[in-house]
Symmetry: C2
Subunit: 458 residues, 2 copies
Amino acid sequence: MLRNESLDSIFKPSSVAVVGASANPEKIGHIILKNMVDGGFKGSIYPINPGADEILGRRAYPSLLDVPGDVDLVVVVVPAKVVPSTMKQAGEKKAGGAIIITGGFREIGNDSLEQEVIDIAKSLGIRVIGPNCQGVNYTGSSLCASWPLIKAKGKMAIISQSGTVGAALGEWAELDGIGISSCVSLGNKADVSEIDLIDYFSHDPNTGVISLYVEGTGDGRKFMEVCRDAVRRKPIVVLRPGRSSKGRKAAESHTKSIAGSHRIFHAACRQVGITSASTVEDFYDFSKALMCAGGRRLLPGRMDPYGVAVLTSSGGSGIIAVDCAEEVGIEIPDLNEEAVIRLKEALPSHCVVRNPLDLTGDTSAERYETAVSELSSSTDVDAFLLIFGDPIPRADQVVARLKSSLVSKNSDAEIVVCYIGGGTIGQEEALSMHRQGIPAYPAPERAMRAIGALAGKF
Amino acid sequence: MLRNESLDSIFKPSSVAVVGASANPEKIGHIILKNMVDGGFKGSIYPINPGADEILGRRAYPSLLDVPGDVDLVVVVVPAKVVPSTMKQAGEKKAGGAIIITGGFREIGNDSLEQEVIDIAKSLGIRVIGPNCQGVNYTGSSLCASWPLIKAKGKMAIISQSGTVGAALGEWAELDGIGISSCVSLGNKADVSEIDLIDYFSHDPNTGVISLYVEGTGDGRKFMEVCRDAVRRKPIVVLRPGRSSKGRKAAESHTKSIAGSHRIFHAACRQVGITSASTVEDFYDFSKALMCAGGRRLLPGRMDPYGVAVLTSSGGSGIIAVDCAEEVGIEIPDLNEEAVIRLKEALPSHCVVRNPLDLTGDTSAERYETAVSELSSSTDVDAFLLIFGDPIPRADQVVARLKSSLVSKNSDAEIVVCYIGGGTIGQEEALSMHRQGIPAYPAPERAMRAIGALAGKF
């Protein structure tokens, strides 16, 4: 497919100029420069500002042309009318990429100015993100030419037509200790589109899952074609609002995208193997699960039946999970007779041996280990949902051991965790699970829906 | 109605004995005593343990009968077989209430022992919570005879047949700065049931909303009768799992409740004016919204049409909210011509004046104030959803001013907030909004569904 190597200037530059860098902490030109510096970018950073000698401890230059040597990437925060001349200067400095944060182009009807910028960029061989966008964060290069500053390195590549939705996902991933590989704000997509980026990230070794928020895709056929190829390497999760008639109108007005039929889009997604989310939380939760599952769920075609064994310390949470499973289309298979006998032998008599398996409130973390071991040979269990209700010390260690034990048995079974009511112990253990590549969710339904994503139900 | 004044001994005791208090930090008998002490209970606390002189700095007594003077409330953590004799001693000390944490009764088939305990309690005039429960927290008395320790005082009264679900709600309320008035774990409901507690909390001045997790209600007719009366004073939110066939079976096995028909239960709830949640997050989110709305939504009968004006700094989040509105049955009314003219005059030209109203990413908090003022006379706006995407300084102050301005105009319109992608500023401002009685949610759909609860759509 495309293999957009030309995008390397954007994601892996040696030198970056921030044109419109500012000493005023309230200006975007300051925030971007600060995030580049605080983010720890290792290459050269050149603030461009005719009125300053130094900004944030970096020598500033009056114009791009004053920078010594070449500039790989230009981040543009100057007013719209100055952008064409800036791009020409970027060409002189042999830049290969530009991130145009500046607004005031097609989104307000200024199509001709946008076209002028793109014509210049194309003639000079400069790839452009934006204009009218929230920038690019690529943690593999410690390059945060965007906001907020998210430094946590991880495998989630976020591509978003909404700056806020992208930022929210990044923040959640950071709070969860999962981190991101990238967060790209698409803006007006005058040059680089989600299609280029999906292809790029599908070949990116730092990326494990591609999470796309998009309000409209320009060339639907090409989009699906690129995704069909990309999902062979990396799972893709899409959130595309505009399901309702009013939502669709708002989407068209927001990004001047032609939203097209939602039903047709999602049917095509399913056929191609893209996972569709319909809420922001699902979008994040599904991405997290697919990322943790690694390459094992590359083609999330519908798996029927997909069976889950639910193990819980909280009877109520187990029931809630089972309700949700039915709605998602997940099986909760009855335990076979042998498994029941083995479990009754292995567990204290007050445990309720069925599926959901109630290990009861006095359980230790180790009791989960005993139970999973007894069930790990069951052929109808595709995933284990482990619900920890209340703080359960060492749950993270037990879950890690279980995961490596399944791997060593060549089992494909997934482990997904719900940690609910665990207080600070639960929060810390959930972070530790994330560091070990096991997704943990704060409510049973969120965990079960995430399993649904692994099973190709969305 | 009932006015269970006899429950005052449980929630407002002057003296509490913990029978089975332990010096071993891993024992429940230690945790409960510690939470009573750390929770700041002002009355007398008597640890009962024949092998200790002192536990956690409190003088311990060999038996209940050795305590000087009377004991109002007895918290029981001793083995099941000793519970009957403990209850007799509680009677001698003129106790009016007992919280029996101990398990090993009806839930494992030991019906006769449970009956014996209840017969003794009834004959001595002792009201009993449990057995087999996670205790009682009542912040109005700083009484946490339960775990986890939640000290944040608020207006949410949680009644739960699942210890974990109750604890999770309490934890979320604490993290949100909302707090709780009470959290009661029902256990086997051998004496005090959700029916008694709904009636009690509906008369409790510390309570603003009653949040009930229940797997089965014994006397359905009486339950609905008491709720019909209680919702005239306080909104009630119910989460009752067991919708699916497997979930129902698991519920019956978990608490030996006869789950009955889910459909009939929810139809009855709607008729009576109870708000039904179907996920744990909805359960919490709805409770929070109804609590913040105070007494204004006492009878959440279906309000049609219910119109919401969506104001957002994030175009994408606005679209997402509008999609969700249609699914919940909420109207997003078009702005009338006059409002459009006024807003176009009052707002910068790049704002998108429609519903959802896109104030765009460069908005200040004050721009929301301008817009809401222009819309506050619209008769078809029953609620404002304010979406803050990215950190927006002073959003909390603006929201507070808007709320008091609506109140001073005698407007019934609600304000609900979604704060997404706001980083630490957003988190702090959301807490501040909660302290001012304005509910804030981390995703647009959660905010819109909460509005649905205010509109009687659930």
